[in-house]
């Protein structure tokens, strides 16, 4: 079973990387980019076959390791 985890910075947390990308896009001539935020996507290949359990397991992985819940939010999708 494949799970996809999204990890994004919480609102209000500075994203220097996103800001640098926004600036670079402007320099390259892409107008009208008001904001850029960068996050991670982590694709998990799980042995679990029950989607409910797989989702719970992925969420537990986020809490324990994948996400820094002080500054990041996460969400899990079962593919």
């Amino acid at each position: 079973m494949k799970a996809r985890v999204f990890i994004t910075l919480k609102n209000g947390v500075l994203d220097p990387q996103g800001e640098a990308i926004r600036h670079a896009l402007g320099t390259l001539g892409f107008a009208g980019v008001a904001g850029v935020r960068q996050g991670k996507v982590i694709d998990l290949d799980l042995a679990e076959t029950d989607p409910v359990k797989a989702k719970a397991a992925a969420a537990a992985m986020c809490d324990k390791l994948l996400a820094n819940t002080i500054i990041e939010n996460y969400s899990v999708e079962i593919l």
Binding site: P16, Q17, A20, I21, A24, T27, L28, Q38
Partner: protein, 232 residues
């Protein structure tokens, strides 16, 4: 020999590289700002320094490779000019399409700063001609994303065309796994372009180019450049 060092915001080895070039050539290296559209006239060597251009954000070297000055650097290279990229400069050259392969996060996932042994794999280049039969040299590394990754076909081509300039080796000159600080394919630390006039390398020759700092193996690279141009 007239040399220039490209300065991006976030470059931080620009001065160090300029010092080494100036020392080897006896002529002050020029600093060129990334927003400039053109290189100074009459240049022999363009050097792209280490550091964290644009914070290393997105991908190391990606944003810098698309800076205005890089168009001129690419043209300069296409005309056969000498281009040296060290550390972040190597990443920039790859992102700019001037050298093949990719540099990825170190296998340890950690930044690593220490001396390594390098084998000089070819002296047939304007950057390495002065190493003569000195095969194992000591030069420091300092990077987070230095794992050189290439597919089998590219590796075969690099080997076949004698384009691997440096490999990470142990003190006996063997490219063993323990001597590989970052997980690079085939222990590759530096590669040459097909015309041998572009060199990208992760180690920092400019940091051990002065005996007062504990070694001068790096200085030989800059002497090589000086030699190459004197001959030409």
């Amino acid at each position: 020999m007239k040399s220039a060092v490209i300065v991006f915001p976030g470059s931080n080895c620009d001065r160090d590289l300029a010092v080494a070039l100036t020392q080897a050539t006896g002529r002050q290296a020029e600093m060129v700002w990334h927003k400039d559209a053109t290189l100074p006239d009459g240049l022999d060597v363009v050097a792209i320094p280490g550091g964290f251009s644009f914070g290393d954000y997105l991908r190391c070297g990606a944003i810098a490779a698309r800076a205005p000055i890089m168009r001129s650097v690419v043209e300069f290279a296409k005309r056969g000019g000498l281009v040296l990229g060290v550390c972040n400069g190597f990443q920039v050259l790859i992102e700019a399409g001037l050298l093949p392969g990719t540099l990825m996060r170190n296998q340890t996932l950690k930044f690593v700063c220490r001396d390594v042994n390098l084998a000089v794999e070819t002296t047939d280049s304007p950057f390495t001609n002065a190493y003569g039969n000195r095969r194992v040299i000591t030069v420091p590394i300092a990077h987070h994303d230095g794992a050189y990754i290439a597919d089998a076909e590219l590796l075969a081509r690099l080997r076949g065309e004698d384009r691997i300039a440096f490999r990470y080796v142990n003190a006996r000159g063997e490219p063993v796994a323990e001597a590989n600080p970052n997980g690079s394919a085939d222990n590759i630390a530096g590669v040459l372009s097909a015309n041998r006039r572009i060199l990208g390398m992760m180690p920092h020759p400019e940091r051990l180019a002065d005996r007062q700092l504990g070694g001068a193996d790096g200085a030989v690279l800059f002497e090589s450049l000086s030699n190459a141009l004197a001959v030409a």
